[in-house]
Assembly symmetry: C2
């Protein structure tokens, strides 16, 4: 029989070191305190990931930790919020080991430093079934400055950060469901993008300054663009030739017609989709570049509030069976 | 094949009506906004419950909803915080039905009215395994007034709210692991106490005014009292004859020697354990009674920081194999 540490020992050894803020009381109490600054709003968000749906049980524990935290930070970034901290609820399946928990906590520690957030509390449980990780993250921003989905106006330019489709293609490579297999570094990049989303935290202040609407692309570019257009009561046109694609994604798109559908509807991108009034577009792109985030202009908001479209190389709308992947 | 609604349809039909605060944006955005009041601290807390560990899959969905929310509200109450809202992350197992979700949301709606809280956000997922519900709840209190575990001082009187052991005995009745079966209303009461914890939300202001330390009893009275004593660097003595027991619990304790161990270490009580300076004890009890919460004096804090004890009818310390039940 493997002797495993108690819940309290796990918290003391692996999670207490992550709870540096005095308001977390070193995880020795039942709740944490956060002292909001006057003139700031608090932005709250929760996302849960579960084995066999959002990640593979055999993924490295640090990668699972990174995904659990980053999908939350990405949502905050899309709203213009600076992340502050998070609560972690962990349900460990029957086969958990102390080594796994150590690797998981190491992954959180690395990301805490990278994204300047800290653990405020949560709980550790046994699960009769698989591993589940639930995180509630909170951030702050000047009062009233949250960037909603609903402010896009006709004429606004549509931007997206980074490159699109990498993670969904990485997942297809892992699942072996794509014919044209990229090799070497290009494949590694796509696999890495599936494992390690890159929340665009550094973009938050620029979004607050310029964006009329924004969200992070998690369900798929077309599906999330449709959400944004519906919330803003507008339509939109994207241009497939303007899509920012990584080298690996471009090669797959050139060789396998199903790859483009995956790129546009597969999700797990965790890039920022934002709209900006046309006169501000150049400044928005230039200021974003200074923060290290590359933005691409991919389309325009139109007044006709029908479903948004993406135009192919010949200017004809592409059609999809569904606009987004759903983990549901 | 059963046609089941999409994630978006579920949110729109069942969860949007629970999100009344303008800061929740009717669950149409990626995050919620909470505007803290100047001079107040925010208290944050998260607890996850999972099928087969914290509840039975066949429990009524409204009872599962109530347990998921109330275990969080109980933690806030024990810290002296007034609850405000919560984020809900739901992972539905393969066999979920729309009826189940409706019953679950109805349970949340009833509790939102009862405890004056509102849904701020969260997410709905599919689970490859069992049902998991994760809630992060937040409350507010005047700046600096959180009631910690760590302020108990020698001479303080130890109080507990309500009655102790009911839920853990109710669970044993369901599991059929107790010999002396109570019948009729007494058994119903114990089963009800397992299904429906009663967070002592109304006690929060009184705790802030009088308590030197407090927590909610979730792991078991002896285990949680040990946590409080350790955090406060003191010891404590409880008196078994002073324990508040319901009629059903008393009958079981009279007929089955194992029942007393369950009462003292079984957990799931969600009653408040608090310490108060002796000169304030009468006022504390009187003011609590005005809020409808009955408190019992069950012991005293001592300077000797060894493990706390509970004395039997002859004044001898009772011994336990372990001080608390663990869901871990």
């Amino acid at each position: 029989m493997v002797v495993r540490p108690s819940e309290f020992a796990l918290i003391e050894r692996y999670f207490r070191p992550l709870a540096a803020d005095p308001g977390a009381f070193g995880l020795t109490d039942d709740a944490a305190v956060f002292v909001p600054k006057s003139g700031e709003d608090l932005v709250l968000q929760a996302d849960l990931i579960t084995e066999g749906v959002h990640f593979f049980a055999a993924d490295p524990p640090a990668a699972i930790a990174a995904k659990a935290l980053r999908v939350n930070l990405s949502d905050l970034a899309g709203k213009g919020a600076t992340p502050v901290g998070y609560l972690l609820s962990l349900a460990l399946g029957p086969a958990w080991t102390e080594d796994w928990v150590r690797g998981f906590a190491d992954g959180l520690a690395a990301d805490q430093e990278r994204f300047r957030v800290t653990l405020y509390g949560g709980d550790t449980n046994r699960s009769a079934n698989g591993l589940t990780i639930s995180i509630a993250a909170f951030g702050r921003l000047p009062a009233g400055s949250i960037v909603r989905r609903s402010g896009a106006a006709p004429g606004d330019i549509v931007f997206v950060s980074g490159t699109i489709g990498d993670a969904a293609l990485g997942l297809r490579i892992r699942q072996g469901t794509i014919d044209a297999m990229p090799a070497g570094k290009a494949a590694d990049h796509l696999l890495e993008r599936y494992l390690f989303p890159q929340p665009r935290t550094e973009l938050a202040p620029t979004l607050r300054r310029y964006a009329t609407s924004a969200l992070d692309v998690s369900d798929g570019l077309m599906g999330d663009f449709a959400h944004l257009c519906r919330a803003s009561k507008v339509g939109g046109e994207l241009d497939v030739t303007a899509l920012p694609l990584s080298a690996g994604a471009r090669r797959l798109a050139d060789h396998d017609p199903s790859a483009l559908t995956t790129i546009l509807t597969g999700g797990d991108d965790y890039e920022i989709l934002a709209t900006v009034p046309e006169p501000d577009a150049d400044s928005f792109a230039a200021e974003s570049a200074k923060t290290g985030v590359v933005l691409s202009r991919i389309g325009r908001i139109v007044a006709d509030a029908g479903p948004p479209v993406i135009l192919d190389h010949d200017g004809r709308p592409l059609r999809f069976q569904r606009l987004s992947h759903t983990h549901f």
